[in-house]
Symmetry: C2
Subunit: 213 residues, 2 copies
């Protein structure tokens, strides 16, 4: 990170996209790219790309040659994945959505490691989800005291998420990957929350199709 | 829709959130709400709420009483769900993510109806996913000629999505709920695309936790 510049949340949200595009360029053995070419591929502007790169560090774009793909990737990997130590996550809700999300975390190299899963349904307890045993919610405090997980993944209905979030904040969990419709960042402004609202995305799509976007 | 005002994409993206909050208010038997109260619950500002409502129609906020919850809900339902006729969708990719997404569409009342699912893995063909038979991709053209689906749900790897998207556009499919890492809105600017990039969301969360958001 360029020490003089603090990346804003919109810039932070674009970093994974740059990372994906640059990985694809590297896989295609492309070693350098101009801001204009990268912008065209990503559907943005060269000026936006240059501004964003200016926020993230010493990217060394060179006139007529462009940016080094390897250098950009190294900077982005440092920002997105830190020292390579994965963040520990625990899952709440082991239904169909929880199963898919746990599998996504287990099969992807996005810097997270799922270390436990919790539910309250008796028939699920002791089963496994993406190779991890499902525990009863009663075991949560003991588990957190011992393992200090950093992230909670909420695949619960709204009411379940509302009920549990205060408890999770009190247990010292800072990060939330939230699939529920409960916006816990409103009551807990210090929590770091990424919301994935699948229903909202689908409703927006419906609106745009029905209203001639 | 207020005929003199065209809602921008950021406003459109907020409509489902208003809808969710107003549904919760109605479920709690609350009949009217001020922009200030609604903004506080949603983590936004009263001015933003009033501006957004001004875009969507004749919302009739009254000084000292506030907005009618029923009236707002009726307007939002008209915008988000049209005449109640659900949009027809077909799924591509019947792995774990496709299974979860199909179940989400089947179990939610977001205005979509899944009418087919496609894959290429021989062992999946003829099985069902959320009650719908899985067809081979070879049957796609015949199916579309007969049923004219409006939306494609892409739960494919990047390469699969890149391969198929031109074909889907040519088959007349306008809407895309895209879970793949292929940004089809760049080559196909007329397609209506909602991207859900789970990996990007997770990487943003990681960045914010590692870099002291």
């Amino acid at each position: 990170m360029n020490p003089s510049v603090k990346a804003s949340v919109p810039v932070i949200r674009r970093l994974p996209k740059y990372y994906r595009y640059l990985r694809a360029l590297k896989d295609a053995n492309i070693t350098s790219i101009s801001s204009r070419e990268l912008a065209a591929q990503m559907g943005t502007t060269a000026s936006q790309v240059r501004q964003d790169f200016n926020c993230i560090g010493d990217v060394n774009g060179r006139q007529g040659i462009g940016y080094s793909v390897d250098n950009l990737l190294a900077i982005l990997e440092g920002l997105l994945f830190g020292d390579g130590e994965r963040l520990t996550a625990i899952l709440f809700g082991c239904g169909r959505l929880g199963t898919a999300v746990s599998s996504f975390i287990a099969n992807n190299n996005n810097g997270f490691r799922l270390i436990a899963a919790f539910d309250v349904k008796p028939e699920l307890i002791g089963q496994t989800i993406s190779g991890i045993p499902i525990r009863h919610l009663d075991d949560l405090n003991a588990f957190c005291d011992k393992h200090h997980p950093q992230v909670a993944v909420l695949c619960l209905p709204r009411s379940g998420a509302e009920e549990i979030s205060g408890r999770l904040v009190n247990l010292g969990i800072r990060g939330y990957w939230n699939f529920s419709h409960y916006d816990l960042s409103v009551p807990f402004p210090d929590a770091v929350v990424e919301n994935v609202h699948l229903g909202d995305s689908l409703m927006s799509l419906g609106y745009r199709l029905r209203n001639g976007d």
